[in-house]
């Protein structure tokens, strides 16, 4: 019995092995070896489809940090099954395609290593039941996406696109993490299943709404929802297989997955319904609106992906309304929106994957993907054209392709939602079908652009660097398989519905009982209903709009000046944050050592001092003190006077001698305090130090009077006095501390244990012999340093080299 945990780990293991073993595959393309991984995983998972369709789920737990409730728990149910099949299935096709797309001269080991890293991370996201583990995998997908976008890192565009994608998705991920922690605070669990089970207890909690918004932020940034969609078009700098895989079929759907997974938790709340469906609707419109104006085919597909992701997101939002009403015949109707979302999710992966691969073929074979330079390719690239036609028409929502079915269901869902009695204004509900319809018209227009502008019309070989020719068969296999799926799903949609979608519906609506009731029968023809009329309207108006594109396009798109885009907002934000952090950092990291020291001392004063106050640790007891004599007090007074007068010493000799006074007085104290070894050492060291100071003075300039500002002097004074005060307070508190027994009595057996009568010597030379040895090493290193600084000098030539 294989466990799902292994499915996640296998791509990571192979990714880790690749850098070491890729030399063995010099003769063949590395991709053939890598292809095995997703294919095997796909077959393994596909074998579980029947049992998952029967409602079985698989849970495996490896305890990781049980005390913190972090466990590597995997959970395979209908919802994760859809995504896992997409990840491994599309993954296999993309790797097959990439074998012909990328030449062996590229650093393939890196490419496939990142790709497998992504695959493992993405499987981890959809299979993890533990939120913390899910979060780690979630960020790993961002990291691998960053690496893949920047695969051609000699291009500036790639690097900037990668940075943008990383910054936006990771900031969303951090918001999501905070949301997860809030969920844990509310429910006491990191397990999604347990959180879903305890959802009724938390819906009134004060953190419920913040947690929802934060998790949605994570989902929206990842799934490129408005206004975070700006990273996706820039991510198209990645090699086309990556765009097809990460940025249309899988990674951008992680946000969709998250929303679907958390629908049972948050879906019953009205805010969830509004936020998810409105954001989805705006994204749907904005994406399709921007796609029409693009001249780069890949940018067009990027905006179209944004738009389609918005469509799926809004459907999930619309479907969540069913949870507000609980299970009833009416609310089952609303769940069809969620069903349509899952259905369109699969359809989108098939037709958009095919289209991306077609664009990759054009880019690879003809050297351009600019619509203005292409045209009339139909006769010369018949296979590519066929796939492109299938993909575009499916995206436009025409029969006999799978996009037609899910688009119709989408229209139906927006019409149903008008009937829900939650709108304060009755006419407000009309906004859903209207926006959906307008966006679909625009979708139709850009699909026509792909078909007509690129493949029909007059060929323009003079604008191309390479002669027009059909792609090699290897590059065509993957898009053709996807194209066949597009058609196949249209004819047998209920097979998909029953085996794949139905168990997922059960995961999203766990309280609704048998998921068979939630699975509508998908049919292409269901009589003349509003959705059919809407489709016909889309075709008519879309065709008209396409025909007169030249008339309205410059007018409409010239309307918005480019300064007010979210892209320029992002760029300004990035530039100004770099500039401002430079200013701020330069303000305190100003190169003046004195300031740094002040920071350190102030930190010491504030943290230690405030904790001392806060914990009431200060205690003061004079009764345990040893007695003192008059001459001891005199000695203390001498030392204090010497120390203070050091501050006012006019010459450095005076200051050094005063330091000597301190040192010798301490030696006397050592005698008084029964420490003869210390006294001897102190006397010797103090003499040598003083001599050393005097020696150094003959090489150093005379002591100038320091012209410090009064303010600086004042700050220095306050800081110094405060540090002294804190030390006194700590000293007074600690001197009576007797919570632990002293270990010193152990050393009083020094004669028996070490054969030495002088305890101090025995400690240094025997008990802590290693410490003493290392102390000697320190002395030795200091000696080396002193020697080399006096004797060694860089030659003039070396300095010049450094200056260059």
């Amino acid at each position: 019995m294989f466990s799902i945990n292994l499915v996640i780990l296998i791509p990571f293991i192979v990714a880790a092995l690749l850098p070491f073993s890729f030399r063995r595959f010099k003769k063949n393309h590395l991709g053939w070896f890598v292809l095995i991984v997703p294919t095997v995983l796909f077959v393994l998972l596909a074998r579980l489809i029947p049992s998952v369709a029967d409602g079985k789920t698989y849970i495996h737990t490896y305890e990781w940090i049980p005390t913190l409730d972090f466990n590597f728990t995997t959970y395979l149910d209908g919802l994760s099954m859809i995504f896992a099949l997409l990840i491994t299935g599309v993954g296999s096709l993309v790797i097959l395609y990439s074998i012909f797309y990328l030449s062996s001269k590229e650093s393939l080991q890196h490419f496939y290593c990142y790709l497998l890293l992504f695959m493992g991370a993405m499987l981890g996201v959809v299979f993890s039941d533990n939120l913390m583990v899910l979060y780690v995998f979630w960020e790993l997908t961002s990291v691998s996406s960053f690496l893949l976008i920047a695969f051609w890192n000699h291009r500036q565009g790639s690097r900037q696109g990668a940075q943008k994608a990383m910054l936006i998705t990771v900031s969303g991920g951090i918001a999501m993490l905070v949301g997860f922690i809030m969920l844990h605070t509310m429910t006491g669990s990191f397990s999604i299943r347990e959180i879903i089970a305890s959802v009724s207890e938390i819906s009134d909690h004060a953190l419920f709404l913040p947690a929802m918004i934060l998790i949605l932020l994570g989902a929206f940034t990842k799934s490129a929802q408005f206004p975070f969609h700006i990273w996706l078009p820039d991510a198209m700098e990645a090699p086309t297989p990556v765009s097809a895989y990460l940025h249309s079929a899988t990674m951008v759907k992680a946000g969709i997955y998250l929303v679907a997974r958390f629908t049972p938790v948050f879906g019953a709340d009205e805010v969830w319904f509004w936020v998810v469906s409105i954001v989805g609707m705006i994204t749907l419109f904005w994406g399709s609106f921007n796609a029409v104006r693009q001249t780069d085919l890949k940018a067009l597909l990027a905006f179209s992906t944004v738009s389609q992701l918005g469509l799926i997101m809004s459907l999930l939002g619309l479907g969540s309304i069913a949870l507000q009403f609980g299970y009833s015949a009416d609310s089952v109707l609303y769940t069809q929106a969620t069903f349509a979302a899952l259905f369109h999710l699969i359809n989108h992966s098939t037709f958009k994957g095919a289209l991306f691969m077609v664009v990759g073929i054009l880019d690879h074979e003809l050297g351009t993907r600019d619509i203005r330079r292409l045209g009339g390719l139909m006769a010369l690239m018949p296979f590519t054209f066929t796939v492109a036609l299938i993909g575009s028409l499916s995206m436009a929502g025409l029969p006999p392709f799978n996009g037609f079915l899910s688009k119709e269901m989408f229209f139906a869902a927006t019409v149903h939602i008008m009937e829900v009695d939650i709108f304060s204004l009755t006419s407000f509900g009309i906004i859903f079908p209207v926006v959906a319809w307008i966006a679909s018209v625009l979708t139709f227009v850009y699909c026509m652009i792909i078909v007509f502008k690129v493949f029909l019309g007059k060929p323009q070989p003079e604008k191309l660097d390479k002669p027009i020719h059909e792609a090699p068969i290897g590059m065509l296999i993957s898009p053709m398989i996807l194209g066949a799926l597009v058609v196949g799903i249209f004819f047998f949609p209920n097979l998909l519905g029953q085996y794949i979608l139905q168990p997922a519906m059960g995961s999203i609506y766990p309280t609704f009982g048998d998921s068979a009731y939630l699975t509508p029968k998908i049919s292409a023809w269901h009589g003349v209903k509003p959705e059919l009329l809407m489709t016909i309207g889309v075709i008519i108006i879309g065709a008209l709009l396409y025909k007169y594109l030249k008339l309205w396009k410059p007018f409409v798109y010239g309307f918005f000046p480019s300064i007010f885009t979210f892209n320029s907002l992002y760029n300004n934000l990035l530039a100004s944050s770099v500039r401002n952090s430079n200013i701020v950092t330069n303000r305190y990291m100003n190169g003046l050592l004195r300031h740094y020291l002040v920071y350190i001392f102030v930190f010491f004063i504030v943290t230690v001092g405030s904790y001392l106050l806060y914990s009431r640790a200060f205690s003061f007891d004079i009764s345990t003190n040893a007695s003192f004599r008059v001459y001891e007090v005199c000695l203390v007074a001498i030392m204090a006077a010497a120390a203070v007068s050091m501050l006012f010493a006019k010459s450095r000799i005076t200051a050094t001698l005063l330091n000597g006074v301190l040192g010798y007085s301490i030696a006397i104290f050592f005698v008084l305090f029964r420490a003869p070894d210390l006294a001897l050492t102190q006397l010797v060291v103090e003499s040598v130090t003083t001599a050393l100071f005097l020696l150094a003075f003959s090489h150093l300039p005379d002591w100038k009077k320091e012209n410090l500002q009064t303010r600086t002097k004042l700050i220095n004074g306050i800081v110094s006095v405060a540090v002294g005060l804190i030390v006194v307070l700590i000293g007074l508190s600690v001197v009576d501390f007797n919570q632990f027994d002293s270990i010193s009595s152990y050393f009083e057996d020094a004669y028996e244990l070490a054969g030495g009568a002088n305890i101090v010597n025995a400690i240094l030379g025997d008990f802590r012999g290693f410490d003493t040895m290392l102390e000697v090493v320190v002395l030795f290193i200091a000696g080396l340093g002193v020697y080399s600084m006096i004797k060694l000098r860089t030659k003039k030539e070396d300095e010049n080299i450094e200056d260059q």
């Binding site: 007695s627 220095n716 002395l779």
Partner: protein, 112 residues
């Protein structure tokens, strides 16, 4: 006695801090020297003062004063001597190569 010594330590620390905050390298080095004096006294005081006889087993009778702080201080004296010597030579070398003993002038490029 302990309280008195701790007060003295406070004065020494304050003086050392003030010296370390100045611009002249020599003053800073003197500051570190004073600092180490203060710390040595502090360690010794924390072990308790005049609690017994000299920790020489053959020469004196129990109770002995705590020997562990003394061993620590002995190490510390030697290390602080090494450090003082090192930074003194560092100051010498800096003056030789750059021609100043003022830290503000050693700061380097303005807009770094």
């Amino acid at each position: 006695m302990e309280t008195l010594i701790i007060m003295l330590i406070g004065i020494l620390v304050a003086v050392a801090t003030y010296l370390i905050l100045s611009r002249n390298i020599i003053r800073i080095i003197l500051g570190t020297a004073v600092f180490s004096h203060a710390v040595h006294l502090l360690i010794l005081t924390m072990g308790g003062l005049k609690q017994g006889n000299v920790p020489l087993l053959k020469e004196a009778n129990a109770p002995y004063t705590d020997a562990l702080p003394q061993a620590l201080i002995l190490t510390a004296i030697v290390i602080s001597f090494a450090v003082t010597a090192f930074i003194l030579v560092l100051a010498y070398r800096i003056y030789q190569d750059i021609g100043t003993d003022d830290l503000d002038e050693l700061r380097g490029a303005k807009d770094e």
